[in-house]
Symmetry: C2
Subunit: 350 residues, 2 copies
């Protein structure tokens, strides 16, 4: 009895044999060498005569041979697979980072396996780590920059490389952009335009990225001797921007708003527009991220650009560094964001 259930009925004429993929031994036999020589050719070992190598390569082509990664992983104990834990994968940022990571991983010879999490509580994250471990990934990148994630990650099995993207935690190697500097850029830009102070619609307070942006904004205000209003907490959504934007629109003293991200800024722009407050003539708005659409907002959004793809690439670098050194360096890589001036910000009125 065949263990194969793919043993589909052969139609007369259709000659699709139950192609049990060819393995090294088959290639070896065809090339007239031992399986070990095939292995040597595959792994670019020296000490194979060019002529032999060609024969082996020809045999591999003829049989359409592909090496079995499970067997390879079993014996080498290297899966060449990286795990990615992602939250809110639908946002532009995480998605771009995933993209950058995957491209980099590919050229470094790694595969990427994803585990998305619905929530950022400790259990969900540990579950995701577990799931990835079961696949014997060699390292994990977490695009889930809530504080709790960092600590959850820190207790991943030793010997597993780990990198946090975004604010991260203190216990895990992290790659992030310099949110504080970015926020300060935006704030200084607005102050430089003559605004007496700058309001801030922030991200959720338990996101390090949000906190760093708040810090940068606050420090820039402080350094300029400007009053420091209370930041308004949001959830990164356009809705939050809209709600707070309506309140700001009703307050004639508000002339400049720095938003925690571009979605928030979009919501704020709409609120201001609805209230009849002209942007940038009466109120200036600045965002953060530079999503592809922000140049087409009404008006085009002044913002701070994050290079998400670079974030992904750098996190791979950090991972590989750990993999090769064998220790969990506590490094923190920080990328400098770029200020992008568009027309949603202008001189203070009056």
């Amino acid at each position: 009895m065949t263990a194969d259930r793919i043993d589909a009925g052969d139609q007369p004429g259709g000659p699709p044999p139950p192609t049990r993929g060819s393995v090294m031994r088959d290639v070896a036999r065809l090339a007239g060498v031992s399986h070990q020589t095939v292995s040597r050719v595959l792994n670019d070992h020296p000490n194979v005569r060019p002529e032999t190598r060609d024969r082996v390569l020809a045999a591999m082509r003829a049989l359409n041979y592909r090496r079995n990664s499970a067997a390879r992983t079993l014996v080498t104990r290297r899966s060449r697979t990286l795990g990615l834990i992602a939250y809110e994968t639908t946002l532009f940022g995480p998605a771009s980072t995933l993209y950058g990571l995957e491209q980099a991983a590919r050229s470094a010879g790694y595969f990427v396996s994803v585990a998305s999490v619905r929530a950022l509580d400790r259990k969900s994250v540990l579950d995701a780590v577990d799931r990835l471990c079961e696949q014997s990934v060699e390292g994990i990148v977490a695009i889930a920059p809530q504080s709790s994630v960092g600590t959850a990650l820190a207790q991943a099995p030793a010997g597993l490389a780990v990198v946090g993207v975004g604010g991260g935690g203190e216990h895990v190697p992290t790659v992030c952009i310099d949110n504080s500097t970015g926020a300060a850029m935006a704030t200084r830009h607005l102050l430089g335009l003559g605004h007496t102070t700058v309001q801030h619609i922030a991200g959720p307070p338990d996101w390090p990225e949000a906190r760093d942006r708040i810090d940068g904004w606050r420090e820039a205000l402080h350094a300029a001797g400007a009053p420091v209003p209370a930041p308004r907490p949001g959830d990164w959504s356009a809705r939050a921007g809209y709600e707070h934007g309506r309140q700001f629109a009703a307050d004639p003293t508000v002339t400049a708003i720095f938003c925690g991200n571009d979605q928030i800024a979009l919501g704020a722009l709409r609120a201001l527009h609805e209230a009849g407050r002209r942007v940038p003539d009466e109120v200036s708005v600045v965002g953060f991220d530079d999503v592809p659409e922000s140049g087409y907002f009404l008006p085009p959004l002044t913002t701070v650009r994050q290079d998400f793809a670079e974030l992904g690439r750098r996190s791979l670098d950090l991972l590989i560094e750990q993999l090769e050194s064998g220790v969990r360096t506590n490094r923190r890589v920080s990328l400098t964001p770029r200020f992008v001036a568009r027309t949603s910000s202008g001189p203070a009125p009056g």
Copy 2:
């Protein structure tokens, strides 16, 4: 006999230290049973005395045992891994689909490995397929709905389950939303508001999704006896929407524009605004997709909602169906989109 070999000191540049975790034999020894019994416990075989099972489970916990998936894959010839080929991963749609797929795959006991492609030419796609095959995935989902992708996918190794998301091709099982119906909904909505005809800024002509939307739009116009203008081809970007939008803005006879997606609509809105054409009073605009921000556009965008996450879930269903039946069914699953009325569309002027 030395099961242990002495680990030579790590040479810099050498492979990382082998992670010596506990294996079945260790668990078996601790529990006082054979490794086979451990395997039986792991795989929920009957014929294990509850008392024995408990002893084994306790031993597994004590040793923090995790089974080695490579070994398992090697012998069972099932990797329990699915491959995902994604293009333009940064867009909301693909990202959400990935999310939905991963969630569904997880609860079905599968892992998901991603391969992103930079371009959609045949070679890139075949490369990605190759990469995934090397990981011995059991099936592939391609979120890369260009026509050429379908045909490239069709010649994936036999015995590999394949599903296309989006327009797909004729040769590959496909799950998509009913783009034609969605476009017709949008068009009929505008015609119903009294517009004599509807312009269309479309997606790239080699995307089946774009073509289906064109078809639906055209048929709806035709059925209503309205004139059918030439659709304007774009690339799904806000920029394309802006460029065509400017031309439409200069033409006073244009009162209704149906856009291939929400980004295009955003660009069109900006062009109309710049030209002083009021939306929806003078010109109505409708998008497609319902990205989370579209409710905060100026004005909030009337659009057609795609359930991307459902797309991901359904593609998993289709994949599993193939995996279990062993044949590449040529099924095509079509989801009905939902029309979402907001304020960017209104009665025809005059």
